[in-house]
């Protein structure tokens, strides 16, 4: 969730709305999954699986990034609304995944169910806390947040991107390349969306299945908005929503309550957060008006 939140946040910082994390999640997951299935057989040295896992992470990042780059390219070259294209790409990615592991697909395992072969390597569970489902990906998530902070607030490139996001016309005049920044932002955003897929698939699942994302892409949007695009805020809100989500799934297993109720709660949270901006704005505006009127009254 932290990763998909980053996928949304990075693009947002550059003034783009990336709700394609779901599709990037699939692509990243597929790429990493294929590495985890087939790479050990290709004679790549398995040192406790570490090399393969690193390869899987890289493959996932690149695959997700390229998927994000499609929407970015359509945006900068043709001006296609990235919200619609990323949503369409989400559906395309989901069907692509179903095809690849389906009965006619190249990675079908022949078992009678649409699924791939089992992963040869995956992240070890029980990391940090014994007997938990936690894996080393939690460290990756924290590293990713740190990277996000350093990149956007300490590096020149990140600064340029923020300028583009705040005012692309001004950025253009200042000599910042708007298009290449947007493309880079979408690639990085997609890459982190891909990492989300890697971490879900190689931590929590044992093979590629149809619809292996349970709406992580949209969770990311909620997390990023609640965290106000701030790394610390996003980390905390990711934890909040993760608790909500696993609670929702548990409720879904127990009774008639749908796990989807969590989506509704998320939506209310986003709406309230976004609407709260108005209160702030209105307060400032009235204050200005009062200040402007004050001297005349005296």
């Amino acid at each position: 969730m932290t990763f998909t939140a980053l996928a949304f946040a990075i693009a947002s910082r550059c003034g783009l709305v990336n709700i394609g994390a779901e599709g990037q999640f699939y692509l990243g997951g597929i790429a990493a999954g294929l590495v985890a299935i087939y790479a050990p057989g290709l004679g790549i040295p398995v040192i406790g699986g570490a090399v393969v896992l690193v390869l899987a992470i890289i493959a996932g990042f690149i695959a997700g990034g390229l998927w994000g780059l499609i929407a970015g390219w359509l945006k900068v070259s043709f001006g296609a609304n990235e919200v619609i294209t990323t949503v369409m790409l989400n559906y395309i990615a989901s069907f692509l995944n179903k095809y690849l592991i389906g009965y006619d697909g190249p990675f079908y395992d022949g078992s009678g169910n649409p699924q791939s072969e089992a992963f040869k390597v995956s992240f070890e569970r029980g990391f940090f806390i014994q007997n938990s489902d936690m894996t080393i990906t939690i460290v990756l998530a924290i590293l990713a947040l740190v990277f996000y902070f350093i990149f956007f607030f300490k590096m020149k490139k990140g600064y340029e991107m923020r300028v583009v996001g705040l005012n692309s016309t001004a950025a253009e005049y200042a000599g910042i390349k708007v298009k290449s920044n947007a493309l880079l932002a979408m690639f990085m955003a997609g890459g982190f969306g891909g990492l989300a897929g890697v971490s879900e698939l190689l931590s929590a699942q044992s093979r590629i299945l149809p619809d292996f994302s349970s709406g992580y892409g949209f969770d990311g949007v909620a997390v990023a908005l609640l965290g106000q695009l701030h790394p610390l805020g996003m980390g905390l809100s990711a934890i909040l929503f993760a608790v909500l989500k696993s609670g929702g799934l548990a409720m879904g297993n127990k009774g008639t309550i749908s796990p989807y109720i969590v989506n509704a709660i998320q939506a209310f949270v986003i709406i309230l957060v976004v609407a709260s901006v108005f209160v702030q704005d209105e307060y400032n505006r009235r204050k200005l008006i009062r200040q402007a009127k004050a001297p005349k009254e005296e």
């Binding site: 043709f78 109720i261 989506n263």
Partner: protein, 354 residues
């Protein structure tokens, strides 16, 4: 000029279709006729939703929550229809009122509170997905009967006087008297045997086009989307027009969602599957006019109907790849045709009264 180009394309398509209807061998004729009928059925909900969205976007509001409003309309049409003993007319009214409530929420947030339209649109979708799926789990055990709208031939046959001349009695109902036309009769019958809503819908779309471009109200809507400040000084209430457009569009998106449910006669979670977004794309592809959006919907509907065509001619292709086609076509259409049209200048810009 742009309008004329669309008209020319439309006429060429019609001429080609008629030529096929007259001269092609029977099996090609039948396949094509059922493809067109299928295309129309898929396109109608898209076109209705898109027509509402045209008004909304022309008034300066980009509603990316259309998907969610459609989904809400779909669920409540389904529930409403079964509450009223399968009556589709009352059912779709229930669906429309539910999406009206969503539109009211959306309008309040983006017009009065001036929130970011894109973000609010997305959260409306998440909200709708969450709510409809939750409610669906609760009500899915209900005993549901959904009746479709009456077919055009059933309606025509009931008109006193001319009804008998326009339709034929057949064993299980009625059919259009078009079958009696030589050579092309069956071809036309397959295409025109739609339910009554198809005809009402298409007439309504043309009516909406007329209102938008030939009446005062339409001019006001378009002006508000271009330069709200100027409108305000001439006494047009920007907020009123924008609320009107949002609520009207909410009604129509809910109606479109209802049509989806009444077409397949059941509800499944996330039944809209991106159709709301495709409708938004149809608005852009259709150059922000209701008729243009209808043409765009026919293209997108065709992209979906083509899977049936491919099955009909006996080609084998993985269904998952076939399912991708409408989404791919939408992306391509967005990329290829955008930028050549005039986008309303105040689109997504909230209006603050000074």
């Amino acid at each position: 000029m742009k309008q004329k180009k669309g008209l020319i394309i439309g006429i060429i398509v019609l001429v080609v279709l008629l030529a096929v209807g007259f001269f092609a061998p029977d099996n090609i004729k039948n396949t094509l006729a059922s493809f067109i009928a299928q295309d129309l059925r898929i396109a109608l909900p898209l076109a209705i939703a898109a027509a509402g969205l045209v008004y909304e976007q022309r008034s300066g509001i980009l509603n990316l929550g259309a998907e969610g409003m459609m989904l809400t309309g779909a669920l409540f049409t389904w529930i409403g229809t079964s509450l009223f003993g399968g009556n589709p007319w009352l059912g779709i009214l229930v669906g429309m009122s539910s999406s009206l409530i969503m539109a009211l929420l959306f309008g309040f947030l983006v017009i009065t509170l001036r929130s970011n339209q894109t973000v609010i649109g997305i959260s409306i979708n998440i909200l709708a997905l969450g709510l409809t799926s939750t409610i669906y789990r609760v009500v899915q055990t209900m005993n549901i009967t959904v009746n479709a709208f009456p077919s055009i031939s059933d309606v025509l046959s009931k008109i006193p006087g001319i009804g008998a001349a326009l339709t034929n009695e057949v064993p299980n109902g009625t059919e259009l008297a078009l079958t009696q036309i030589p050579v092309i009769g069956n071809f036309l019958t397959t295409i025109f045997s739609q339910n009554i809503m198809m005809y009402i819908g298409i007439v309504f779309i043309f009516f909406l086009n007329y209102v938008l471009f030939k009446t005062d109200l339409g001019l006001k809507v378009r002006a508000v989307g271009e330069y709200p400040k100027a409108c305000d000084t001439t006494g047009i209430n920007v907020f009123k027009i924008r609320y009107g457009a949002v609520l009207f569009s909410g009604l129509l998106t809910g109606f479109a969602g209802g049509l989806l449910v009444l077409d397949i006669k059941t509800f499944v979670e996330n039944v809209t599957a991106g159709k709301g977004f495709i409708a938004v794309a149809a608005v852009i592809f259709g150059k922000y006019t209701p008729i243009g959006a209808f043409g765009a919907s026919l293209v997108f509907g065709g992209a979906q109907a083509i899977q049936y065509l491919i099955q009909a001619v006996g080609l084998k292709a993985p269904s998952d790849l076939m399912n991708m086609i409408p989404y791919v076509v939408t992306v391509v259409a967005l990329a290829g045709f955008i930028g050549k049209t005039h986008v309303p200048a105040a689109l997504t810009v909230p209006y603050t009264k000074e």
